[in-house]
């Protein structure tokens, strides 16, 4: 496909963004990401193990930052302050890299986003020069507000993080997509390739996923399936589906010339 996904002014040919968590080891992480064709990969920022890590392999060796665009996240942050602090450290860690994924959670059981803290953090980060891709609920009003604050992409959930429940409210996603002038990516909740294709057919600009690939029985094959689903869904969206005709069939074969015709 020649048409590209533009995020914060930079073009990407892949519309699939993937996480790097929950894999068996770094070799599997890299193989799955290669199979997915993803160019943007999310990473978490965590305390370094002190004292017992000499010679331990690091994610960065398997996913060289020169080859992939890192998207540091704020997973596990429950306040705007923690999220901002985490991303400032991430920027220092990645040599001034500004593209980040903001997520501020509201509840450890559902990992549902706290949109009030998310908005507060987004304001600070945008002012501070970050390009903010923001995880949020599927509330169209909040999505619009995050766009107005200056986020570079809005990423509503399909369903809860890691749940694999698929797209629970396509109607809300469609309202968000119709209202948005920035890329809309579904982030969280995709369970299988069909879900990813549906997200793209709704008109999403991309999909971000982690568990759907990492927790598949064969993560590498699932990564490949996701790549195809994203491409198929995008083409299906661009091609424009036929109108639905409720309770009214229309044969594909000619009605004239049937041998039983009198």
């Amino acid at each position: 496909m020649s048409e590209q996904l533009i995020i914060a002014g930079k073009p990407y040919h892949s519309r699939l963004l993937v996480g790097t968590g929950k894999y068996k080891d770094f070799t599997e992480t890299r193989a799955a990401i290669d199979a997915s064709g993803a160019q943007i990969v999310t990473v978490a920022i965590r305390r370094t193990n002190i004292g017992q890590t000499a010679g331990e392999p690091s994610l960065l060796e398997y996913l060289p930052p020169e080859k992939f665009t890192y998207l540091p996240n704020t997973a596990g942050c429950y306040s705007a302050d923690d999220a901002v602090r985490t991303l400032r450290l991430a920027r220092e860690l990645l040599d001034g890299h500004n593209l980040v994924k903001l997520e501020v959670l509201g509840d450890p059981k559902t990992l549902y986003p706290n949109v009030i803290e998310t908005i507060a953090a987004a304001k600070t980060l945008v002012k501070d020069g970050f390009d903010v891709m923001v995880y949020t609920s599927d509330d169209p009003i909040i999505a619009k507000q995050l766009e107005e604050i200056g986020c570079c992409a809005v990423m509503p959930l399909a369903s809860l993080i890691g749940s694999g429940m698929g797209i629970l409210n396509p109607w809300n996603l469609q309202i968000i997509i119709e209202n948005a002038k920035i890329p809309v990516l579904v982030d969280a909740g995709v369970g299988c390739a069909g879900d990813a294709a549906i997200a793209m057919e709704l008109g999403c600009d991309g999909v971000l996923m982690n568990t759907a690939i990492a927790a598949a029985r064969d993560p590498i094959m699932m990564a490949s399936a996701m790549k195809k689903a994203i491409e198929a869904g995008r083409e299906s969206f661009l091609a424009g589906r036929m109108p639905k005709k409720l309770y009214s069939a229309s044969p594909s074969s000619p009605t004239a010339g049937l041998i039983t015709t009198a």
């Binding site: 996480g19 968590g21 690091s58 997973a75 602090r85 890691g162 971000l208």
Partner: protein, 77 residues
């Protein structure tokens, strides 16, 4: 003559929430990174809530009671 060698030559520094003792005063962040076997690792350091740019590691001195956060990138979604 009795010499009191008490805690004055030891400094306590909290690193990632764990208090550790170090012998020398006037230790820099660079020296600490070596001591902790973290040489060559890509990391970011916050001292008492403020980020210390990597370019300042060799000048930034540590003092008794400093609180450090040392972070890196790990797998995540």
């Amino acid at each position: 003559m009795l010499v009191f060698r008490c805690d004055q030559e030891l400094m306590k520094i909290s690193i990632n929430g764990e208090v550790k003792q170090f012998d020398s005063r006037n230790m820099t962040i660079s020296a600490l990174v070596v001591t902790l076997n973290l040489t060559g690792k890509r990391l970011a350091i916050e001292k008492n809530g403020e980020i210390v740019p990597r370019s300042q590691f060799s000048e930034e001195k540590l003092q008794d009671g400093d609180k450090l956060e040392i972070v890196g990138a790990v797998g995540g979604g």
